[in-house]
Symmetry: C2
Amino acid sequence: MNVDEALTILKEHGYKYTGKREDILSFFATEDRYRTAKDLLQYMEPNYSGISFDTIYRNLHLFREVGILESTDLNGEKHFRMKCAHHHHHHFICKDCGLTKEIETCPMETVKTELQSFAIEDHKFEIYGLCPACQ
Amino acid sequence: MNVDEALTILKEHGYKYTGKREDILSFFATEDRYRTAKDLLQYMEPNYSGISFDTIYRNLHLFREVGILESTDLNGEKHFRMKCAHHHHHHFICKDCGLTKEIETCPMETVKTELQSFAIEDHKFEIYGLCPACQ
DNA sequence: TCACAAAACGTAATGAATACGATAAAATGT
DNA sequence: ACATTTTATCGTATTCATTACGTTTTGTGA
């Protein structure tokens, strides 16, 4: 997803356009990997000195709710990345740099037969390690 | 894993026996599901009034390190459960009560072919939802 | 039973995330 | 263009889980 697509989604949901939001989106559009709220704050600081935590977190959660970002818990800290909306898949995640690689394998179909009487709402399949550059 | 097996593991690693440790272990031996540090603290409080956070967390991490417990992050809070050591498997986890059900399916073999140049260190496959009792 | 290493206590500190009243800014209708 | 309304942001305080640490207590092996 690119910045324009994301801004369109925002507008469709009736949310306003601001310079900060565009900058947040372009941060994630450029970084094709999982980043933390702190990473984003450090990126924003130079241009918007004194930007508040509220703004960072509110927008991160808003963007996730409307489907612009996706998130995962990595050692106790929430990480965010631009959502890849084209099809269902999972991620390899580099422990060092947060880089992600798409995994096509998804075992949910076979798993469903194992969970007949359970109400499945969600699932998480992540592989962790080091990417070629970080090895 | 039962309490005696766990105590044996502790002794093998040269750690000491204490009443608190046995109680912590019997808590997890009884509860066949993911529990938080707070859950454990509430269980210990009546018998050991004034037990400290240090004791709780130190033992939880120790037990995980020697392979007595396994842990996962669930909405920003670490959850622990007795490790089922017999064979590799994953879990369905109930969002309400933390109950777990073993899943035999593990897609790592096929995934490895997708990640030739990546150093795989770990993986997580969890299914979330409601167990029959909580629906 | 004595000495020493490990465990626990009590409490303070850290760090991520959330909350909130006040202010500012963007969209909308006239 | 202007006023109105709605949303966004600021500044800061608070919550909550977790970690840290100096001191005291307690197992354990000689």
